[in-house]
């Protein structure tokens, strides 16, 4: 059963000069189609990876999926409800927002440096009226869930390493008890050994809590063992979509083949390398 459905998702950006300038210079309107008619669906409790190079439209899709950006055309629905439906009543919208959370690439930028970790984690609890009267206990539980300790609630984000900060971002996403988490390059800023810790944590949480992930990355290797299904984006278009094992074994699109060939291997003798 699919929980997330994107249908014909499209987002255009207007890069033109202001109208007055255009009138004076006779320059045409310039429209960039960052996401172009993208459709996919994600099975409940699985990971769907969107892979593509810089500028291919990955983060733009993420922002539409979480409701931060409206599509120019097409829809994205969670359990059949359209996030961007203007007719949605506020209570339903809030309920939907609670169920969708996001983890960003830069754990520095996404955590308020002036707040203690406890306050950062309690904020979504207040916003959604969760764990009323037992916030402290819930914060401790969240920290434990991501492999940190209760006492970390008293510390500030800068007192943590990059990997630990990413654990805090994940704990914050978990606070609202979501079923769908969008991870936009969650480990790109981390060292491999720390990346392995964070990827394993995401997998464990998925098993324990039945979470569904949209996992965004430029690195095919990172999703090789994470994703059930992979969509490959090029210039805003989904050029290929297959189950992970099939995609690695027999990529259909030349662009996917190129991405696979260019990905560094640990044992290049088996491939084309030196």
């Amino acid at each position: 059963m699919s929980i997330v459905e994107a249908r014909g998702l499209t987002r255009r950006f207007d890069l033109s000069d202001p109208w007055v300038v255009r009138m004076l210079t006779f320059r045409k309107k310039r429209i960039l189609t960052a996401v172009d008619d993208v459709s996919f669906s994600i099975e409940k409790g699985t990971t769907y990876a969107l892979v593509g190079e810089s500028g291919s439209g990955k983060s733009t899709i993420a922002r539409m999926a979480v409701g931060l950006l409206a599509p120019s055309a097409g829809t994205i629905t969670i359990d059949g409800t359209n996030l961007n439906d203007p007719a949605l009543d506020p209570a339903t919208r809030t309920a939907l927002r609670r169920r969708i959370q996001m983890v960003f690439q830069s754990p520095y930028a996404s955590l308020n440096p002036r707040w203690r970790v406890g306050a950062i984690l309690a904020e979504p609890l207040h916003a959604f009226g969760l764990a009323a009267g037992r916030e402290t206990a819930r914060v401790a539980e969240l920290l434990e869930q991501v492999g940190l300790s209760e006492t970390d609630a008293r510390r500030f984000p800068h007192e943590f390493s990059g990997g630990q900060r990413q654990r805090i971002s994940i704990a914050r996403a978990l606070a609202s008890e979501p079923d769908f988490i969008i991870c936009d390059e969650p480990t790109s800023a981390l060292d491999v050994s720390v990346q392995a810790q964070v990827l394993n944590l995401l997998k464990r949480l998925q098993r324990e809590l039945g979470l569904t992930y949209l996992f965004i990355t430029h690195d095919l290797a990172v999703v090789a063992t994470m994703a059930r299904r992979i969509g490959v984006l090029q210039h805003g278009k989904l050029v290929e979509e297959q189950d992970t094992i099939a995609l690695f074994a027999a990529p259909r699109d030349p662009y996917t083949k190129m991405l696979l060939d260019a990905a560094p291997r640990l044992h290049p003798a088996s491939a084309t390398g030196r």
Partner: protein, 318 residues
């Protein structure tokens, strides 16, 4: 081609005096670079990769200083005169291409200037060589008159490599030259580095945190941890049979496209790289090491069998 290595680094030590004591980001590091080879430096952030590269060419920011050891380039010990080697004999490529290019100057002029600074040639010859160095990195020599902003990130990084190569140095130190680039462009840039070694007999030190890049590009690899050399050896050997537990962990935790069929968890090394003011005694890796013995906590292991600084090798030998 002479038999002596192009570069020999012996017991290199870099110190930074601070109010809380002396920090040692590079601690007793020794290695050689042969002519025509690519030596990789790999390790997690803070391992001392960049600092080691910078020390070779005398680019340590004060108050940091080289506190011990020596660097022998082409048979001569380099000291205060390191600056004279930069550009002409040792070229450098850094991660961010924009810091190395002047945005206001045509790239052909930047290349020709570098060439004339280091080689005794006239303007016409310099321009001819500039065109050739663009060709060498796979760029259209017809674009000599373009400005940096007219190129994509990958093309700009290749211009930077062309600039580092322009004076035909014997050694190129490339610090994370592809970290900011997409994989397709990364493959092109690494291809250029391999080609200059093969075609010109130049040597390259490639600094990266990416084991896959090491595997695809280098002949030998040095694994650094907490400013110390953990393991060094032929790349294929080190990757298929790492002897140091840190190297083993680094390799096992690297996800690769070769793993697609597996659904298991990635190997994870517990903990993280120590800060410079809290480097553990004995073997710096011991708090994270599953094999740590009593001795590891007290005595720093020397490089054994010319391969790994780990007491396990002494046990095996005994």
């Amino acid at each position: 081609m002479s038999a002596a290595p192009l570069l020999e680094v012996r017991n290199l030590r870099v110190e930074f005096p601070t109010r809380r004591g002396v920090l040692t980001p590079v601690d007793d590091v020794s290695f050689t670079v042969e002519r025509g080879e690519i030596l990789g430096f790999v390790g997690e952030s803070g391992a001392g990769k960049s600092m080691t590269g910078a020390a070779i060419i005398g680019l340590i920011d004060p108050p940091g200083r080289i506190a011990g050891g020596e660097v022998v380039f082409d048979g001569t010990v380099i000291g205060k005169d390191a600056a004279a080697l930069r550009g002409k004999h040792i070229g450098m490529v850094f991660q961010d291409p924009l810091t190395s290019l002047n945005p206001l100057k045509r790239i052909g002029d930047q290349l020709a200037e570098t060439i004339r600074l280091h080689l005794d040639v006239g303007a016409a010859e310099a321009r001819k060589r500039a065109a050739r160095s663009l060709e060498e990195v796979g760029l259209d020599p017809g674009r000599l008159d373009a400005y940096p902003h007219e190129f994509s990130g990958g093309m700009r990084q290749r211009v930077v490599i062309a600039l580092a190569l322009a004076a035909e140095p014997e050694l190129v130190i490339a610090d994370e030259p592809t970290t900011a680039l997409d994989v397709s462009i990364q493959a092109q840039v690494l291809g250029v580095l391999k080609r200059i070694c093969a075609e010109r007999g130049a040597s390259v030190i490639l600094v990266t945190h990416d084991m896959g890049v090491i595997a695809e590009t280098t002949d030998r690899v040095a694994v650094l941890y907490a400013g110390r050399l953990a393991e060094i050896g032929p790349t294929a050997d080190v990757i298929s049979n790492p002897r140091h537990p840190y190297a083993q962990g680094l390799i096992a935790s690297t996800p690769t496209v070769e793993d697609a069929a597996q659904d298991g968890e990635l190997y994870q090394i517990p903990g993280s790289m120590p800060r410079l003011d809290a480097i553990p005694p004995g073997c710096a890796f011991h708090p994270r090491c599953a094999h740590a013995m009593e001795r590891c906590r007290r005595e720093r292991p020397p490089m054994l069998e010319g391969r790994a600084a780990c007491w396990l090798l002494a046990e095996e030998g005994a």
